[in-house]
Each structure stands twice: as structure tokens, then as C-alpha cells.
């Protein structure tokens, strides 16, 4: 089955981390996977520095390499033509989208984004970010983003994350999802805390164990 998923959300919510992990998960299930860095808003903290490593793992990665770019943040962002045609790739496709409303606008430039029957857009939400810390704020924020098919609870405090932080986030994200009438796709838990989450979180959301790659993305 062809899986096409786009990860949208705020700065530091965990879009890239979840996109990478989802790509590797599909790869392990023998999908042919293309991972696309479509972050045209934030030119620094993207999966770019990890491009070679991820390709080495067997992913088809469409992203600029740091050495190919020039005047980051100054010269505007360019799309590679492979990015515009990303949805025409064979196999499953994971899109890592830039932050906020302007990030989500990238769909206007991607061929087939409005008509692709398989495309699911998931918003990655962390309630440790003050702008998406309450149910009301999340609902308002998601409504601005356009098409969103589900929420991912990725509430975290970096290395300081505790199970309580994740559960607290799960409750708020779940309430927001209920009001929006969309599902919580999963609650993300880092490998270090995975043993504390057998099965589901307290709200009954599935758990996805993720490995953290982005701390290595030294730019």
C-alpha cells in the first residue's frame, strides 16, 4: 500500500524527528520510501545535515545538502525540481514541512498535493510550546493550517522529558483532537522512555517509539 504522509506543525514541535522515524519504520516494513525536506521557512534546523546518513540507511532523501546552499535565510529558499514532483515518486512518500501556516502553504507548489488521494497531513503538537499549550490554542492553530487529518502528541522537553510531561500533553492534545473531530494518530515517546509506555498512553492513544536523530543535526 502506498503511504503518503506530511508532517506539519510549529518550530521545535518535532516535525523532522517524526518524519524521519516514520520513514525508517516504513523502510523496515519493506516499503520503498522517499523522504522530502520541504522546509522552506526554517533554513537551519532541518534534516539536511543528516541527508547522507539517511541515504545510507536506504531512504531516498530529497533535500538540499548544506554545501549546496548559499545565503541561508538571506537569499530565499529554492525548491529543487525533485521537490515539486515529489509525489510522483514510486512507493511511499514522507514530507517534512516547514513550520506554521506559511510552511503549510508549500502544498500550493507541490504537484498533485491537492488531489493526491493517499495524502494524509498530520500536525505534530507539543504542549511544552506555550503557543500550543492549551486545548483552545491548539484548536485555533490547527484550524489555520488548512487540511489536517490527525494530531500527533509529541510533547517533550528535550532531554528533560518525563512520562508525566508526555501524559499531560496527551490529555490536552486528545481534547483538542476531539473538538476538531480528528484522531490522535499516536503519542511519540523516545526510546529512553519507551519502557514506561507499554501499549497506549493514559488517554488510550497508540504509542510510537522514536529514536532521536535531530540532536546530531549540528548545522
Amino acid at each position: 500500500m502506498r503511504i503518503v504522509e506530511a508532517f506539519v506543525g510549529e518550530y521545535a514541535s518535532g516535525k523532522s524527528e517524526n518524519a524521519i522515524n516514520r520513514s525508517l519504520e516504513l523502510l523496515a516494513e519493506n516499503h520503498k520510501v522517499t523522504l522530502v525536506d520541504l522546509d522552506t521557512v526554517e533554513p537551519f534546523y532541518t534534516l539536511r545535515p543528516l541527508k547522507k546518513d539517511l541515504q545510507g540507511m536506504g531512504l531516498n532523501v530529497i533535500a538540499w545538502s548544506p554545501e549546496e546552499t548559499m545565503g541561508l535565510g538571506e537569499a530565499g529558499s529554492l525548491l529543487r525540481q525533485e521537490m515539486i514532483w515529489a509525489l510522483k515518486n514510486e512507493g511511499s512518500i514522507i514530507l517534512d514541512i516547514g513550520y506554521g501556516v506559511h510552511g503549510a502553504n508549500i502544498f500550493n507548489l507541490i504537484e498533485g498535493a491537492t488531489s493526491d488521494p493517499d495524502l494524509k497531513v498530520y500536525a505534530v503538537v507539543s504542549t511544552a510550546r506555550p503557543m500550543t499549550a492549551t486545548k483552545e490554542d491548539i484548536v485555533e492553530y490547527i484550524k489555520d493550517l488548512g487540511k489536517v487529518d490527525g494530531l500527533i502528541n509529541n510533547t517533550h522537553l528535550g532531554n528533560e522529558t518525563t512520562p508525566e510531561v508526555i501524559e499531560e500533553g496527551s490529555q490536552i492534545v486528545t481534547e483538542a483532537a476531539l473538538e476538531l473531530g480528528i484522531p490522535v494518530i499516536y503519542t511519540a515517546v523516545s526510546q529512553e522512555l519507551a519502557h514506561q509506555f507499554p501499549g497506549t498512553d493514559k488517554m488510550g492513544n497508540p504509542i510510537k517509539v522514536i529514536k532521536r536523530f535531530m540532536p546530531q543535526a549540528f548545522w
Partner: protein, 362 residues
């Protein structure tokens, strides 16, 4: 007044630029003036997203000269006004900030430094130290806090408003593109809950009463007719600055209690590398300490000298080609201490690189 943007205190995870916008909100800033330049622009973007919710204002100007002067104007009108800029924008800010020095206007400007000279790069640098501490055609009558991470950005952005308004000197929060864009946890809080009272602002013009009768004449000037007149004014500002300096200076020291083989001097985000190097050096049998000035203007010279006196050698580390080094040399003038350097203009410094530099120098 509308709802408080930050109630109580809570642990959060976000980018440094967002931290600055939240801190300015928590500090009851009324208005931001600004012109976009990377890596500062997100401060504006987050401020413009948040400010309307809390009845605060924003004005985008046509350039940085205008952003600087409108900030001065906002303060003169009695608003807790601030701006943010960097690199070439900071260059253009020097003219309005000189005016602020001369007129004693308590402006606050956040500077996430970028690489230079000129347009250069946008991520990592400490190359705006000279300009931020002593820029403009003045005498450096400013206050400069050099932050080392997100908690600092929050704490010192709030403090900058109070220092500026208490002492009436332009005040800068000097970060860098790396802090602006990196993500780490911090605690945000309502200043009132920590017992921090925001210094009351007041208009500097249009005051009630008759000048010279009910109140002293409020005479904001940056133009003088004679050398004698100017000399008196500058010397009086200098006197006020020197008097306030000991109350404003801040610093941190790490492992500087006993005799040291080497004292690492670093500020801002590079201090994090220096702090990280200390345990590595200890394992290698080298007794190292670290002194970090938090205020680069005024520089805690006496405290730096006390730390330096206990060390055999000094190592100055910075992401610039000797800008902090100049300030160090001035602070340590007359001391008989060899100074080594690790100068990486526009580039990052890791703990391992500091360790390597110390080991190769032995």
C-alpha cells in the same frame, strides 16, 4: 490591562527567538519596532503573532536606522519600547543608539549576532562585540548582557528593560544566531511572581506643569554649541555610568577557587563550551577554571583580575578574531599573565576544541 501572557511559571521547550518574544511580553513591553534581518526576524514574527492578543503593538519600519530612531521615539513617549537587529542592521542602529546614549534614552535592543564583516553568514558568531559595546561616535555608555542560552535570554531580556529604565542607558541583550535558532528547555515565569517589579516607565516629553516653574526643564539634547558645554555633559554621563557600573556588572565563575593551570575566559554561548571543557580537562589532570563576564559593558574587571591572579595562564576563547580579547586585555592591563587564544571568527567552538588547544599549548 489585558490578561497576563505568562502566569505562574512553567517549563517549556522552544527556540531562542521565541524566548525573547515571550520575555518581552512578560516584561510588559508595550511596543516593538523592527526591520527584518536573519536571524532576528522570528523575534518580530512571534511578537506580531502574540502582541495583539495582549494589547501590545508593533511597527515595521523602512530600515534599521528608522527602527532605531522609532524605538528612541517610543521610549521618549513613555512606552516600554524595544527592537531587535543584527549584523548590518546593528551597524545602522549605531546612530540612533548614540543618540540614546547622549539623551539617556532607555532603549532595549536584542542582538542575535551573525557572521561578519558585512552580510556574511546568519548562524553563528560573536563578531558584534566591539560594535555593541562601543559602537557609534560615543564613549560606550551602554549596558550589554551576553547570554549563554535560553534561560539567560528570558531572564536578561526582562532584566534589560529594568536596567535601562532604572539607569537610563541604552541596553542590549547580546545573543547569537545559534541561540536564536537552537531549542532547549527553560522556565518561563511571570516576573511579579519572582518578586521582580518592572520599573515604571514615563514620558520624557509633554510632562504636566510649566517647565521651570512646576518642574525642571526637560531638555533632551544631542547637539551642543561649545566644547566646554559638551565636555561637561559627557563627563556627567561618564560619572553616572561609573557610579552605576558596580550595581550592573554580572559574572559567573567556575572552579576558580584554588590555583589554576589555566583560566578560560569566554562569554555568551562559547561559555557553554568552556563549562563543558572543565570536567574533560580535570580528567586529563589539568586544573582549569572558567570566568564568564555576563555584562560585557560594564565589564566586571576587578572580578576577572581576581580570577586571573590565581591562574598560571589565560586562554581567551571566542567566535571572533579578538574582539572579546581586546576587552580582556584592557581588564587585565598590568598583570603579568601569558594570554593564549582560540579565536574562531564566525565559527562555533566545542568543548573538545578548547581541551585540544590547552593540551597543545603545554
Amino acid at each position: 490591562m489585558s490578561e497576563k501572557p505568562v502566569k505562574g511559571s512553567r517549563r517549556v521547550f522552544m527556540t531562542g527567538n521565541e524566548v525573547c518574544a515571550w520575555a518581552a511580553l512578560a516584561a510588559e513591553a508595550d511596543i516593538m519596532y523592527g526591520y527584518p534581518i536573519t536571524p532576528q526576524t522570528d523575534i518580530m514574527q512571534y511578537w506580531t503573532r502574540l502582541a495583539p492578543k495582549y494589547g501590545r503593538k508593533f511597527l515595521q519600519t523602512e530600515d534599521e536606522i528608522s527602527a532605531g530612531f522609532t524605538t528612541v521615539g517610543g521610549v521618549i513617549a513613555g512606552k516600554r519600547a524595544f527592537s531587535a537587529t543584527t549584523g548590518p542592521g546593528n551597524t545602522l542602529f549605531q546612530e540612533p543608539m548614540s543618540m540614546a546614549e547622549m539623551m539617556r534614552i532607555p532603549t532595549v535592543v536584542i542582538i542575535p549576532q551573525r557572521g561578519g564583516p558585512s552580510t556574511a553568514t546568519v548562524i553563528y558568531s560573536q563578531q558584534e562585540v566591539t560594535m555593541t559595546t562601543f559602537g557609534g561616535n560615543g564613549e560606550g555608555f551602554r549596558i550589554v548582557y551576553s547570554t549563554a542560552g535560553h534561560q539567560d535570554l528570558y531572564d536578561y531580556t526582562i532584566k534589560a528593560f529594568n536596567t535601562a529604565w532604572k539607569y537610563r542607558f541604552p541596553t542590549f541583550v547580546l545573543g547569537d544566531g545559534y541561540q536564536a535558532k537552537m531549542r532547549e528547555p527553560l522556565t518561563i515565569y511571570d516576573p511579579a511572581e519572582r518578586g521582580i517589579e518592572m520599573v515604571k516607565t514615563e514620558p520624557l516629553v509633554g510632562l504636566p506643569g510649566t517647565p521651570g516653574v512646576d518642574r525642571p526643564v526637560q531638555y533632551l539634547r544631542n547637539t551642543y554649541n561649545t566644547e566646554e558645554e559638551l565636555y561637561d555633559v559627557v563627563m556627567s554621563i561618564a560619572k553616572d555610568y561609573e557610579k552605576a557600573a558596580p550595581e550592573i556588572m554580572e559574572w559567573q565563575d567556575f572552579d576558580t577557587d584554588g590555583e589554576m593551570d589555566v583560566l578560560i575566559l569566554a562569554h555568551g554561548v562559547v561559555s557553554r563550551a568552556a563549562q563543558g571543557a572543565l570536567p574533560l580537562l580535570k580528567d586529563a589532570g589539568i586544573h582549569a577554571g572558567h570566568f564568564r563576564p555576563i555584562t560585557l559593558r560594564p565589564m566586571p574587571e576587578e572580578q576577572m583580575r581576581q580570577a586571573a591572579a590565581k591562574a598560571k595562564r589565560i586562554l581567551v576563547v571566542e567566535s571572533a578574531y579578538g574582539q572579546f580579547l581586546k576587552l580582556v586585555k584592557e581588564a587585565l592591563y598590568g598583570m603579568d599573565k601569558p594570554i593564549d587564544t582560540l579565536l574562531r571568527p564566525g565559527a562555533g567552538v566545542t568543548a573538545e576544541e578548547i581541551v585540544h588547544r590547552i593540551q597543545e599549548g603545554r
